[in-house]
């Protein structure tokens, strides 16, 4: 009897399991599949306050999809048929018109008619004024970038009438529009934000970190955010232009890259983000998947701390630049999804030149330079790589083996991501791989200022009196010819003195199902605008 009962039990369990197997097709799924875009993303968003956001890619991408700002990049169709947001051409966005007056000392912005926030509140010049007042009061990153372009504070932003705002520019320059065409300048709804401004938190930062309801101005609004699970964008009914082609975007957090690949191949998601380079090569063979690939202006380099011996010795820096296996790193580590970096100013940025880049992998030359540096065979250095980045770890291995051939012994020191970032920002790293810096403003002096002169981001402590003087003189200047000549000279010095080991500019790669189309690429910020995508 007992045995019979246990058999019935086993049979029941088996039956339940089998009933659970097999693929269920939920009713209506096919009908609304075209209305929803499903994206597998690698991580969650963090802090959504536009003017003081965390710098992780999905936070910034969401801000870019749910907010609008006054000035944006002009859409241009390239000869290959691909439309891009041209990084150096600007048009009004919330603004119907923008024009520079008074010899570049005033920016006059006229808003479009009948603009509304996502809760239906009107968006007028007062909202713009409120946004910039808050931005300057908060005095965070966006304020710094605005002041960099010589709009110095609250008093520089004046309401002329309901639809017109005037920005006073202390010194005419080429940086302002590029610095304004980004999420930090999202216009915010005073009716929504003001109630959250308190004495302890006068900029309502705590509320804006995780809320956007009622203040969105972009094609989408943030419909829901389940931390650790997903965030969902839905069509903003009050968006000023045509509605997005796909009304809903579900961004599901799938941390494991192999799982994201499997989901894309099976068609469970429409787009898989941040695939491993080798997986990108694999999906190239899949007939149901499209792989978009675009060049970026992101610079990835080996930093050599010029304030620390022996890297203060220019001959050693040159020796290392002749020892590094450039081609191997691009072929093996980046599996071809990168192009060589040949100057501190990346290819694709105005004034870039590769004519001063003489380095190629040449161990004999490296050895000779090492001897000239007064350093013997067997010089020992420590290389720091990020433990959480696969490409950083592989590069460490290639650098170690290549430098050994030139007589330099490398010890690899892997650092956890948070510790690496902390040491990087304190300029304490000595010999390391910088995985990538993107200058959102496609202006060579914006780029050179941050990476070679600023107190925050000159991570290698490299200095040259001549470079410092040129950057000081030409960052704020409208003399394009003089700027071009100065940029050329800076590239010459920094390349010859081996300010960094110039490694590569990674490609931006996006893998989608074949039925996804319409992608518009924005080289300036390398962020996906879901607005343009279509799904057949």
């Amino acid at each position: 009897m007992r045995r019979a009962r246990s058999r019935v039990g086993v049979a029941l369990v088996l039956a339940l399991l089998v009933a659970g197997l097999g693929r269920a097709t939920p009713a209506g799924a096919a009908a609304d599949a075209r209305q929803t875009l499903v994206v597998a993303v690698s991580r969650d968003m963090q802090n959504l306050d536009p003017t003081n956001a965390s710098s992780d890619s999905f936070t910034l991408e969401t801000l870019t999809n749910i907010y609008s700002w006054l000035v944006d990049y002009k859409l241009v169709k390239q000869s290959n048929g691909q439309t891009i947001g041209a990084p150096n051409e600007f048009v009004g966005n919330l603004a119907e018109s923008i024009w520079l007056a008074d010899g570049g000392k005033k920016l006059i912005v006229t808003l479009r008619r009948n603009l509304k926030f996502s809760n239906g509140d009107p968006l007028d010049a007062n909202a713009v004024k409120f946004t910039y007042d808050r931005l300057f009061d908060q005095n965070a990153t966006t304020a710094a970038l605005t002041k960099m372009a010589e709009v110095m504070g609250k008093e520089s932003v004046r309401v002329v009438d309901d639809r017109t705002v005037e920005f006073t520019i202390a010194e005419p320059n080429t940086l302002l529009l590029g610095n304004m065409a980004q999420y930090g300048h999202s216009i915010l709804n005073p009716n929504v934000i003001r109630p959250h401004m308190t004495a302890a938190d006068p900029s309502a930062h705590e509320w804006l970190k995780s809320n956007t309801k009622g203040t969105e101005t972009g094609p989408y609004l943030l419909e829901s955010w389940q931390p650790g699970v997903e965030f969902v964008l839905a069509r903003n009914p009050y968006f000023w232009a045509a509605p997005p082609k796909i009304p809903r975007v579900v961004l599901r957090i799938v941390p494991d890259p192999s799982a994201r690949l499997a989901l894309l191949k099976s068609g469970d998601v429409d787009i898989a983000r941040d695939l491993a380079p080798l997986d990108e090569v694999e999906v190239l063979k899949d007939r149901n998947v499209s792989v978009y690939r675009f060049p970026t202006r992101i610079v990835s380099f080996l930093g050599m701390n010029a304030a620390v011996a022996p890297f203060n010795n220019v001959k050693l820096r040159q020796a290392i630049s002749y020892a590094v296996p450039y081609g191997t790193i691009i072929r093996s580590v980046m599996v071809g999804f990168a192009r060589p970096l040949t100057s501190p100013v990346p290819s694709g940025m105005p004034t870039h030149t590769d004519e001063f880049f003489a380095y190629k992998t040449d161990p004999a030359r490296a050895k000779a330079l090492l001897a000239e540096a007064g350093l013997g065979n067997g010089t020992a250095v420590t290389f720091t790589s990020r433990a959480d980045l696969a490409e950083s770890k592989s590069i460490a291995v290639w650098v170690k083996s290549a430098l050994a051939r030139a007589g330099i012994n490398v010890t690899i020191n892997e650092m956890p991501g948070a510790a690496f970032t902390a040491a990087l920002q304190k300029h304490e790293l000595v010999f390391f791989h910088h995985p990538g810096w993107n200058s959102i403003n496609n202006d060579p002096f914006y780029h050179l200022f941050w990476l070679l002169k600023s107190t925050c981001c000159d991570y290698t402590n490299y200095h040259s009196k001549e470079i410092d003087d040129l950057i000081a003189k030409y960052t704020i200047s409208t003399d394009l010819n003089a700027r071009a000549a100065a940029s050329r000279r800076i590239q010459q010095i920094a390349t010859e003195e081996a300010a960094w080991v110039f490694l590569y500019q990674p490609d931006f790669v996006l893998a989608t199902r074949k039925n996804i189309d319409g992608l518009v690429y924005y080289p300036a910020d390398v962020r996906v605008r879901y607005y343009y995508l279509t799904k057949e």
Binding site: L17, G20, L21, G22, R23, A24, P26, T36, V38, A40, D44, Q46, N47, L48, N52, A53, S54, S55, N139, A140, T141, A144, L145, D201, H205, E206, K209, S210, Q226, P227, G228, V229, E230, V250, R252, I253, V254, P255, D256, A259, A262, L263, K265, S266, D268, V269, D388, P416, G417, A418, A419, T421, A422, A423, Q425, W450, S454, T455, C456, C457
Partner: protein, 317 residues
């Protein structure tokens, strides 16, 4: 415990400000942020404020999720609890009979099987096993749903009562959600259970062998008591104490969250939450998680102590 965690998180290199300030921030902006979050105060003042907060049930705000840590723990706990409990139930249902069987038929093929399972459960990396199972059961044979969390996108989640999807879907009479949640559980539960079966089967076998070779079992045999009754009524009850302890250790360990499983299956549980918190120096989240894990361990062992007393009348509560 709280003091150790508090000090440890702060002596590790890096601070949450590095994560939230952004690369272009100036020293003054960092200082302002540190002041805003109270990280500029002396350590003992911060610790005092933290303990006072914990006493009120306030664990502080997470820097990475921007939510109160207590809310985060409450949000991520049900996913881990459901997964872990299902796995421990499955592991018990398989591991204990397997261990008993191995002991009773010592030296037989069953016994060898138990030993193979025990070794495999320890030796096979669960990360690898998960990927193989996903490849076969999802990618190749399409038998199980995509490894993207606890429910399919098409499933409407049941009204939240306990946060446990199986129970909530039953309570709200949402049959499709129940089936969907159960199907999503099959793979991660199988992998976790597979890893948990090994220690359970091994300790059950060893403990049973001890008891079966003892004088009182031989006496029972001599009295002609049926073998089945000897094994389950007399021997197993005596062998159960170490098994229970092992069960508690495994359960406590799993409830701490399995980072690998939760990562591979995109399971929004505490393991991943803690991993993200540690890797971005999110002090309040790390502290909150360790406090939670400590409480869970203590709670499980209190329950085990009570069960001890029930199983063995010689142990007084």
């Amino acid at each position: 415990m709280t003091l150790v965690t508090f000090v440890l998180t702060r002596v590790l290199p890096g601070s949450p400000i590095d994560q939230i300030a952004g690369p272009m921030s100036t020293t003054e902006q960092r200082r302002a942020l540190a002041a805003h979050y109270g990280l500029d105060r002396p350590l003992w003042v911060q610790y005092g404020a933290y303990i006072a907060g914990v006493a009120r049930g306030d664990f502080g705000f997470s820097f990475t999720t921007s939510h109160p840590v207590a809310d985060d723990l409450g949000r991520f706990f049900p996913a881990t609890f459901e997964l872990t409990t299902a796995a421990i139930v499955a592991a018990t249902a398989i591991g204990i009979p397997l261990g008993v069987w191995g002991a009773v038929r010592q030296g037989s093929w069953v016994d060898h099987l138990v030993r193979v399972v025990a070794v495999a459960g320890v030796a096979l990396p669960i990360f690898w096993l998960s990927l193989v199972l996903i490849y076969l059961l999802f990618s190749t044979w399409h038998l199980l749903p995509a490894p993207m969390g606890r429910l399919s996108l098409q499933s409407a989640p049941p009204r939240q009562v306990t946060g446990l999807l199986l129970i909530d879907s039953l309570l709200s009479g949402n049959g499709p959600a129940f089936v969907d949640a159960a199907r999503h559980l099959v793979l991660p539960v199988s992998v976790l259970a597979f890893a948990a079966v090994a220690p359970l089967a091994r300790i059950t076998r060893t403990s049973m062998l001890d008891v079966l070779s003892s004088a009182h079992t031989r006496a029972a045999r001599a009295l002609g008591i049926p073998a089945r009754r000897i094994v389950w009524t007399y021997a197993f009850r005596n062998a159960a104490l170490p098994v229970l302890t092992m069960l508690a250790i495994v359960y406590g360990y799993l409830l701490g969250g399995s980072v690998l499983i939760e990562t591979v299956f995109a399971w929004p549980g505490l393991g991943r939450y803690a991993f993200n918190a540690v890797s971005s120096n999110d002090y309040p989240a790390v502290q909150g998680f360790i406090l939670y894990a400590t409480v869970i361990y203590v709670a499980i062992f209190v329950i085990v102590d009570v069960l001890y007393a029930l199983l063995d009348p010689r142990i007084e509560a």
